[in-house]
């Protein structure tokens, strides 16, 4: 239709495609961002981030021993953490 009317030149079409591509990319970036935040939230809620920080702090590699040390360090804090009604 656009070709018949002669309204959309190849340059315009290219620009349109570029715009559409840009929009799609920004939507994809936004979705990725949302999922990244969601992942980070879950990792914080489920203490995976805390374990990673523990490893960095102690310059350790993940292992059964390191995880046992992490649990021991966090035992008091976890036990005292109230869970709401």
């Amino acid at each position: 239709m656009s070709g018949l009317c002669g309204a959309d030149t190849p340059v315009r079409e290219k620009r349109k495609a570029r715009l559409a591509d840009g929009k799609a990319r920004s939507i994809a970036a936004a979705i990725t961002h949302v999922f990244r935040i969601l992942g980070a939230t879950l990792q914080e809620v489920f203490d995976e981030s805390a374990y990673r920080r523990f490893l960095v702090r102690g310059n350790l590699r993940s292992s059964c021993r390191a995880y046992a040390m992490f649990l021991k360090e966090n035992e008091q804090a976890r036990s005292r953490r109230p869970r709401c009604c």
């Binding site: 980070a40 995880y67 992490f70 035992e75 109230p82 869970r83 009604c85």
Partner: protein, 698 residues
């Protein structure tokens, strides 16, 4: 967005909210769609967040993006960690969301959907969110101090002691009341009992898997645990249909109560990694998933509400619990509107994660709005049931009778038609032997949720699976609260006993662990036992008692907040002077901001004190503890039942007296500051400029 468009957008949202509220308030005689409740809530929350919380941030609290938070100043990668605001929001929401916002609205639905819904929306926007927000900020400005520490330093010694006792009491009563909900949901239910029993070995397996096989992979382990729990739900169906197995898992209320008491004790004394931590992860995983699923289900399926806006039980004669709308609707729904327990979370882990002071608004105010939305969903789940079914499930045998025909006739005579055959068919559909007298709110919520989902996902054929999924979800929630709460209570007791005899305060000394765990378990176990022996169903006395405790704790939190705001107003404007100079007019102007916490505080005082008065002294035996004790004494009932009522009355009266003391101390402190006889000094940590702002700009 151009300003004019923004203005138009907010006018539209406000009008939409007002229209939806008017629709749910004024509609009579016809069913309305559940979406009206959702629209009213979301629009009101949006306006409350955009305008009211912004006003509090700017004018009252003066949030400063350049002021360093304790997470930044003490960043140790352990307790204090500057964290993305969305992540803190999720963390905070996971901590504050429990069974309370699900159970309270279901019980309060006996008045109709209108009173509870209006209270949830207005209570959250004007009270609960404000409390969570200001307590979070004040804790951030005091290096993450707890509520009890703030009460002690800002109000006085009495404040600290009262806050401590209130917290311990609420934990004990909360555990007793919630354990009763699990007992009522699982009694004579082999399917439910099997599923919940299986969550314990599953949790232990998760603990071993996490520690020995895949260290630190909590999400993966939780997913594995979830798959096993779903398998246990299917296994439960097989158990319930196999007579020999069904007999093993068909337990009476006393047996279940004893098992839960043993579980609470074991969970408090076993290593955290073995049972408590994996259960906590599993519960959080199921909780977040189910709440999201329920929200999607309600929006996608848009069910109609069958419950009328107001029922005849507004007069206080309700079968679920006795008492008039004021004050009992307002203590029955605590967590979805305002909950004192939240102030413990807002002054616990969350302030240590806040990266920028300005983010307290999103986390504190916004987190409570999300919790309130959960309460709205619970109200919808209860209101989609036919009222006759709702009352058949939630009414105790002591009110409607033991036999199905008699119960159905009583409920139908109230104007809510239901038949024994209809209830039998429903019980069969959800895989239960009976649904009569399943008090506590959890079974009614589960039936409502199963009805919503079975209308689209799998149809009636899978209604039993949805019902037992909902029961599992609530029981898992509650058992997590029981094990975590018993431990928190045990630590609090050890802290206090350590002042009397040092070894008792050592949290790793095993005799102390066993002794204090036994004391806490005995305390809440007593309330649980009292509940299952109560001829009125237990919930009638325990849930109001829990609501009163929770709201009294909120009163303490708002008292602390009000005192601090008074001090801030005086300090900011040059301060009241110790030589008795009166305040300048501008100071008086700033003092008016105290209304943002003072109004909810006055409301809560009115609600809790009136409710306490009724629960202790009301002459109606279904309402007043003492009247009920007298009635039992005249009838020559078991002395234990009489003692229980008197104990409940004594606990209620003691808490009210203590909170009155903190109110008086707080009022005196504020009067001294406003009149200029005392120097206004808040105990905020000194101002330190944030490095984050500089890093962001460079």
């Amino acid at each position: 967005m151009p300003k004019i468009l923004r203005i138009l957008l907010w006018i539209t949202i406000s009008l939409l909210g007002a229209f939806a509220l008017a629709t749910i308030a004024l509609h009579r005689g016809e069913q309305i769609n559940a979406l009206w409740l959702v629209v009213a809530a979301v629009a009101t929350y949006a306006v409350g967040y955009r305008f009211y919380s912004a006003f509090i941030s700017a004018k009252v609290l003066g949030l400063d993006p350049n002021r360093a938070t304790p997470a930044e100043r003490f960043d140790n990668g352990r307790d204090f960690v500057p964290t993305n605001k969305w992540v803190v929001f999720g963390h905070h929401f996971a901590a504050i969301a429990g069974p309370g916002p699900l159970v309270g609205p279901v019980l309060a639905a006996q008045f109709g959907y209108l009173p509870g819904t209006l209270w949830i929306i207005s209570g959250a926007v004007l009270g609960g969110c404000v409390q969570d927000f200001v307590i979070l900020l004040f804790s951030v400005r005091r290096d993450g101090k707890s509520l009890t520490e703030m009460a002690k330093s800002e109000i006085g010694r009495v404040g600290g002691i009262v806050a401590y006792i209130a917290v311990l009491s609420i934990i004990v009563i909360l555990l007793g009341a919630t354990a009763l909900i699990v007992v009522n949901a699982l009694k004579s239910s082999p399917w439910g009992t099997f599923t919940i029993a299986m969550t314990m070995p599953i949790a232990v397996l998760m603990g071993v898997y996490l520690r020995r096989i895949r260290p630190g992979k909590v999400l993966e382990t939780s997913l594995l645990g979830f798959v096993l729990v779903v398998a246990a739900i299917f296994g439960g169906q097989w158990v319930s249909q196999t007579p020999s197995w069904a007999a093993i898992f068909t337990l009476t209320a006393p047996t279940l109560a004893i098992l839960i008491i043993i579980y609470g004790f074991a969970a408090s004394t076993l290593p955290v990694w073995l049972l408590l931590a994996p259960r906590d992860y599993l519960s959080t995983f199921v909780k977040l998933g189910t709440i999201s699923l329920l929200a999607l289900g309600i929006v996608a399926l848009r069910p109609s509400l069958h419950m009328p806006p107001l029922t005849r039980f507004a007069d206080g004669s309700g079968p679920v619990f006795a008492g008039t709308i004021f004050p009992f609707a307002f203590i029955t729904i605590a967590c979805g509107a305002i909950s004192g327990f939240h102030s413990l979370i807002s002054s616990g882990t969350t302030p240590k994660l806040i990266r920028r002071e300005t983010e307290t608004r999103f986390v504190g105010y916004g987190g409570m709005l999300a919790e309130s939305m959960v309460a709205i969903m619970a109200m919808i789940a209860a209101s989609v049931l036919q009222p006759g079914i709702y009352f058949a499930v939630n009414s105790p045998a002591g009110i409607v009778g033991q036999a199905p025909e008699a119960a159905a006739a009583t409920i139908s005579a109230w104007g809510f038609p239901v038949t024994a055959a209809q209830m039998a068919a429903l019980a069969h559909a959800v895989g239960e032997q009976t649904l009569f007298n399943r008090t506590g709110g959890a079974p009614a919520f589960a039936v409502g949720m199963a009805q919503i989902f079975s209308n689209s996902l799998g149809g009636q054929a899978v209604m039993a699976l949805w019902y037992h999924f909902a029961i599992m979800f609530e029981a898992l929630f509650i058992l997590t609260i029981i094990d975590a709460g018993t431990r928190v209570g045990r630590f609090m007791l050890q802290d206090a006993l350590g002042h009397i005899w040092k070894p008792l305060g050592r949290t790793s000394w095993y005799p102390s662990i066993l002794f204090t765990s036994a004391v806490i378990v005995a305390a809440w176990g007593n309330f649980l036992w009292q509940g299952i022996k109560d001829p009125l169903g237990g919930i009638n006395s325990l849930w109001p008692l829990f609501g009163i405790c929770n709201q009294l704790l909120a009163t303490v939190a708002l008292c602390v907040a009000t005192t601090i705001i008074v001090k801030m107003a005086c300090v900011k404007t040059g301060g009241s002077s110790a030589d008795g100079a009166a305040m300048a007019p501008t100071q008086m102007g700033r003092i008016r901001y105290v209304l943002i916490t003072l109004i909810p505080l006055c409301w809560l005082v009115a609600v809790t004190f009136t409710a306490s008065w009724h629960k202790v002294l009301d002459s109606n035996p279904r309402v007043g503890f003492l009247a009920h004790a007298n009635q039992l004494a005249k009838a020559g009932a078991n002395p234990r039942l009489i003692f229980n009522d008197r104990l409940d009355a004594a606990v209620t009266a003691l808490l009210v007296v203590m909170v009155a003391m903190i109110l008086i101390e707080s009022a005196l402190e504020c009067t001294r500051i406003i009149s200029g006889t005392k120097l206004a000094q808040t105990k905020e940590t000194p101002y330190v400029m944030t490095r984050l702002a500089i890093e962001e700009h460079s």
